[in-house]
Symmetry: C3
Subunit: 159 residues, 3 copies
């Protein structure tokens, strides 16, 4: 039996454009029958927060301030030329116009294609969040050892 | 017959310093006989635009504004301490002074060493660009499935 | 005899949060018996500078200005929401409060676990630095060919 090819992405960034890159690679790879894992860590956790808008979740004042400022899925900034959040909206419009999948569509496609979503234990602890703060498709909260174990035998990209 | 070692770089960033890192790795690897692929996507496309200066290319007003603001090869910013573009110029001077290859020299070296240059289909669609907007050394415009196929059996770096 | 699993990190970034990510992966991997290499390049060199504060080291005026502005270990900025250096301090406090290892503790753990630290020859030349400017745990200053050789047969992450 031939083992399936595998690709694992550490999504550290919460930038709109990098999230698009990550989910384009993830859903593209899953479509050609790769096993795909995405590990969300630090700013990347914003992409999978259940509440999609700015929201002061988390335990402790500092954590709440950070979580508020980080925003959620609808507040991801562009890594360059963000113009206070205008650019991600313009870019989404461009993507619709060109019939390119938007970020929301890419995430849904990835979920349909059984891309495995995991969240990083340490960043969740720092930010005082818990499993219930994330969309239900997140399978597990895990640390580095488990992540390396799941990624073994495939490529790892840090985005 | 031993298969050649392979390294593939997804160049997402259009930062001057990251482009230097990518082409240093690429030409260094090619020099020790690796197969090397670079896939230019999003901001990284600026590095291989034919017209090297700011230029409002692309179809549609929004795309033209983005392409103008992104600039071209001569307008790559530094990822930190950019000072409105002054730093890349200062750094190029430092590189000349220290006899380190400049970005232009690194790109030329990579081309001489048969590094394969590819451009990402989806970002080109979003930005309303076409193959003719890029330097002729770009071999092909391609999507994720083809990219994974070409990268198979080697390392992948996301820069 | 089974060869040890291996992971190599190119730490290009000098951001506080990315350095934490790099050292979390490095020490976590070393703890489960991976061979781990970190190659510090460009801004990443700040993490291993011997003098931990802002300091105008380097040969030549330009290099000295860059080195001063880059700061050192205690001046690593957050990649987002840095607030003039306040955020890394707040985040370190949060990490202490949550009993998560701080960056300094992570670096010490990595060293204890025999993570190999290397510095990039080319960036050191550009910045006019030398081996003696770095902490003694840095094993060697090396170029791309040697780096690829050391990384062979394992994963490579670019951070």
């Amino acid at each position: 039996m031939v083992e399936k090819k595998k690709i694992s992405i550490v999504l550290f960034s919460g930038d709109f454009d990098k999230a698009i890159a990550a989910f384009t690679i993830a859903s593209g790879a899953a479509a050609v029958n790769y096993d795909v894992n995405i590990f969300f860590t630090f700013w990347g956790l914003n992409v999978i927060k259940k509440i999609k808008h700015r929201n002061a979740t988390g335990k402790g004042l500092l954590a709440r301030v950070f979580n508020y400022l980080m925003g959620g899925f609808k507040n991801l900034p562009l890594s360059r030329l963000n113009f206070a959040g205008l650019s991600p909206k313009l870019m989404t419009n461009l993507m619709r116009k060109r019939n390119v999948a938007t970020l929301e569509e890419l995430i849904n496609a990835a979920i349909q294609l059984n891309v495995n979503l995991y969240a990083c234990e340490m960043s969740i602890n720092i930010l005082g969040l818990e499993k219930d703060d994330f969309i239900p498709e997140v399978r597990e909260i895990l640390g580095v050892a488990k992540f390396l174990n799941l990624s073994e035998g495939g490529e790892i990209l840090f985005i």
